[in-house]
């Protein structure tokens, strides 16, 4: 059966060029970067080269990059590390309602510990209003954390504008760029970002490596305690092969991002157009202009996303409902809810995320396969209003 994988936001294959570069570090160049002999020095050099490559992708300096084990850890380190370090300056955190669960849970935990939190609303396209950031700032604000782009609906936040406000007010600004890094141009200096989280697996690198950009002069406390690795901010023996892989992935992304984005956004637009024109009551979730090039999140009235996913899977097409992290819980997506989409409509949403190996005829196959599935599901759905015809 034909397999069309359109769930790149949940997991991406590792680029073969990345594989080739990292494999020797498992079995041959297996040194521990802390060891004081040649094999260790070699591993250390490999980690430093990866640091340079990751820094370059986001316009930072190598010494501003801290490697972690995953995006969740990078985000926890940024938020909890910064807030605990600046407790004496205040107790107020500003974030948005559409953040990834890693940000929301870290912030919830801080709130239970006595911090006060403002969760900024978003408009129907999933975007934070810049004015609302200014309005939320108090003298006690010690951190603003707003994601670069949303993983579910792909909306790209006004990061540069928020960065400017944060800089003017002297408040550290963290952005979760896990969904955005390697897909759109990011510059921590142009955008005035103080802390930025990115993950290897979201840019065709291996799982198990991620990074936190920490602007020089911004202080955080570690959340894990142990050895002296990563300037004591992230102890634990470095996963050298995985870090090498992340470096290569960042290098490839930096070189190919522009051309790849153009190809992907064309296919994405074709998919959205194809579905919204051929299926009645099918709508795009999120903003079409400020959107990641690989994201097409659409909703179909009167049917359940889960049934669509399972039917698509039987036809060899993999897609997601809401966020992969929460799709086991079957709750309606907090992002769609925040965008004002009522639960009964949110439930019929499907996120297609395209990637490096998506081909034009994959899109044709989806446009051809999905409408009959929707028709079939609606014919047996109790939610279809009486008298409604396809």
């Amino acid at each position: 059966m034909r397999r069309v994988y359109l769930d790149y936001a949940a997991a991406s294959p590792v680029d073969p060029r990345v594989m080739e570069e990292m494999l020797p570090y498992f079995t041959d160049k297996y040194g521990n970067p802390s060891s004081v002999y040649s094999l260790g020095f070699e591993a250390n050099t490999a980690v430093e080269e990866a640091r340079e490559r990751v820094a370059k992708l986001i316009g930072g300096e190598p010494k501003e990059i801290i490697f972690t084990s995953c995006g969740t850890e990078s985000i926890n380190l940024a938020i909890k590390g910064l807030v605990h370090r600046s407790k004496d300056k205040g107790n107020h955190i500003i974030t948005s309602t559409v953040e990834h669960p890693s940000v929301l849970s870290a912030v919830d935990e801080l709130e239970r510990g006595g911090f006060s939190v403002t969760r900024l609303p978003v408009d129907g396209g999933g975007l934070v209003d810049v004015e609302s950031v200014t309005a939320a700032i108090t003298e006690k604000t010690i951190l603003i954390s707003v994601m670069y782009a949303n993983n579910e609906v792909g909306s790209i936040q006004p990061i540069k504008e928020i960065g400017e406000i944060a800089k003017d007010r002297g408040i550290p600004f963290h952005t979760d760029a896990v969904a955005a890094a390697g897909k759109i141009h990011i510059s921590v200096s142009e955008d005035n970002i103080d802390l930025l989280s990115l993950a290897s697996q979201d840019m065709y690198g291996p799982k198990g490596a991620a990074a936190l950009y920490l602007r020089k002069g911004t202080s955080i406390s570690p959340i894990l305690h142990g050895g002296r690795q990563e300037r004591k901010l992230r102890p634990g023996t470095e996963s050298v092969p995985l870090i090498v892989g992340m470096g290569k992935a960042a290098d490839i992304a930096a070189q190919e991002m522009e051309a790849e984005s153009e190809t992907l956004s064309k296919m994405r637009d074709k998919l959205v157009r194809g579905l919204t024109t051929s299926v009645k009551e099918c709508y795009l979730n999120g903003n079409l202009e400020r959107r990641l090039p690989n994201n097409a999140n659409v909703r179909f009235s009167y049917i359940e996303g889960e049934s669509i996913i399972l039917n698509l899977d039987m036809k060899g097409i993999q897609a997601a409902t809401g966020s992969a992290c929460t799709s086991e819980t079957l709750e309606s997506s907090h992002v769609l809810t925040a965008m004002g989409i009522p639960p009964e409509h949110a439930h019929g949403s499907i996120a297609f995320t395209l990637g490096r190996w998506t081909k034009g005829d994959d899109i044709d196959y989806v446009i051809e396969t999905l409408p009959p599935i929707v028709k079939e599901l609606r014919s047996i759905s109790p939610m279809v209003p009486e008298g409604w015809t396809d």
Partner: protein
């Protein structure tokens, strides 16, 4: 020149079989275990298969007692901070031995900064925990005591069963860092009476990027990394399927081959010890018999550890001085100080940890290299004899 790698306590090369087993999950077997579609289900199955294999290695009562983390440091932090913070109702005391790894001692110290009382229990000159002192230190207000299964620097194996009985009498959780021991000697969490146990993939020939924490059924901890709710809400973050699958396979191989492999290595280790102790003013550190089978550690009078590594490396032989994590700092190892060595004695230490790539034929070359090294360094030593 053939490389003779004798630093398996700092890192193990990934076993080709474990790498081959896990590689599909790295390259093409993508899928997020939380996704609903079939690709996601394959990933979920791979993780559950690994959980079964890791559980078997330590004879855990149920597969789901195994939580995967990014490595041993994270597992140690999760066990200690997770247990201490979750059970503050019982009290705010925590205990460990004086020779634990930094990833146990430093979370303890972090708790200490947050108003916990942290006691370290001393060890004797061979590195065995002082059980009487342990009995005094662990009280009804203690939530967790952390004692390593075996020490990475001196190889000493702790009397875990007796320790377990002592702390359980006071209702204290026993956390055991088994990073150095797992896959080398049999571990049975049920028979040993262990509540929390840390394992590291890359210390038993699995890939970097995975570790595990055994949490006995009914033992209560809280997460250190909240997020998407993976691993029963105790360790969020998309699972590193490749590393986890590789760790599972590494655990399976270790379980099957441990008996013969440990016998083979201990024979080689014994001849190394026998030959190297013939060098004048050379001593074994750690326990002579209660010792990891692949572990030989020495100290040479009038010699400095850093130069040992460099000279041996020039001969194509990699050894270590103390813990790899602290070898970049020039401080003497806290383990060697805890067994009663003076600073200058602790500096002349050399640790050899054998592994799968080593053969008994390598022994003469290693012994020759050590002899030459000692002669050379003592000749130029500023710590030289009066």
């Amino acid at each position: 020149m053939e490389r003779i790698f004798l630093d398996h306590a700092s890192v193990t090369p990934v076993d080709a079989r474990a790498l081959r087993f896990a590689e599909p999950y790295l390259a093409g077997g993508y899928g997020n275990p939380s996704s609903l579609h079939s690709v996601g289900l394959e990933a979920r199955r791979a993780i559950e298969d690994a959980r079964t294999k890791v559980a078997a290695l330590i004879n855990a009562e149920k597969e789901k007692t195994i939580l995967f983390t990014s490595g041993a440091t994270e597992a140690n932090n999760l066990a200690i901070k997770g247990a201490a913070l979750r059970n503050v109702g019982k009290g705010k005391k925590v205990v460990s031995s004086a020779i634990e790894h930094m990833s146990v001692l430093n979370p303890m110290k972090d708790l200490q900064k947050n108003e916990f009382e942290f006691t370290t229990v001393p060890v004797d000159s061979s590195g065995i925990v002082d059980l009487e002192k342990l009995e005094d230190s662990a009280t009804r207000e203690t939530t967790v005591t952390s004692i390593m299964y075996a020490n990475n620097e001196i190889g000493t194996i702790e009397p875990i069963r007796e320790i377990s009985e002592i702390v359980h009498e006071k209702g204290v959780y026993l956390h055991v860092d088994a990073t150095a021991a797992a896959g080398r000697i049999p571990i049975d969490v049920q028979a040993d009476g262990i509540d929390l146990l840390t394992l590291s993939s890359n210390d038993m020939y699995g890939p970097q990027g995975a570790g595990a924490l055994y949490v006995k059924t009914g033992v209560r901890i809280q997460p250190v990394l909240p997020g998407g709710g993976q691993e029963r809400g105790l360790r969020s973050g998309t699972e590193n399927i490749f590393a986890i699958a590789g760790m599972g396979e590494a655990a399976r191989i270790a379980r099957e081959e441990m008996g013969t492999e440990s016998a083979r290595l201990s024979e080689m280790r014994n001849s190394l010890i026998e030959e190297i102790l013939k060098i004048e003013e050379t001593y074994l550190t750690g326990h002579p018999t209660k010792r990891l089978p692949h572990h030989a550690s020495f100290r040479f009078s009038h010699i400095e550890g850093e130069s040992i590594l460099l000279i041996m490396d020039a001969q194509g032989i990699q050894v270590s001085t103390g813990s790899a994590c602290s070898s970049k700092t020039l401080e003497p190892s806290h383990v060697l100080l805890a067994i009663g060595l003076k600073h200058e004695e602790a500096h002349g230490s050399m640790v050899m940890t054998l592994g799968r790539s080593n053969t008994v034929e390598q022994v003469p070359r290693v012994v020759d290299a050590v002899n030459e090294m000692v002669v050379k360094l003592r000749k130029i030593s500023s710590l030289g004899k009066e």
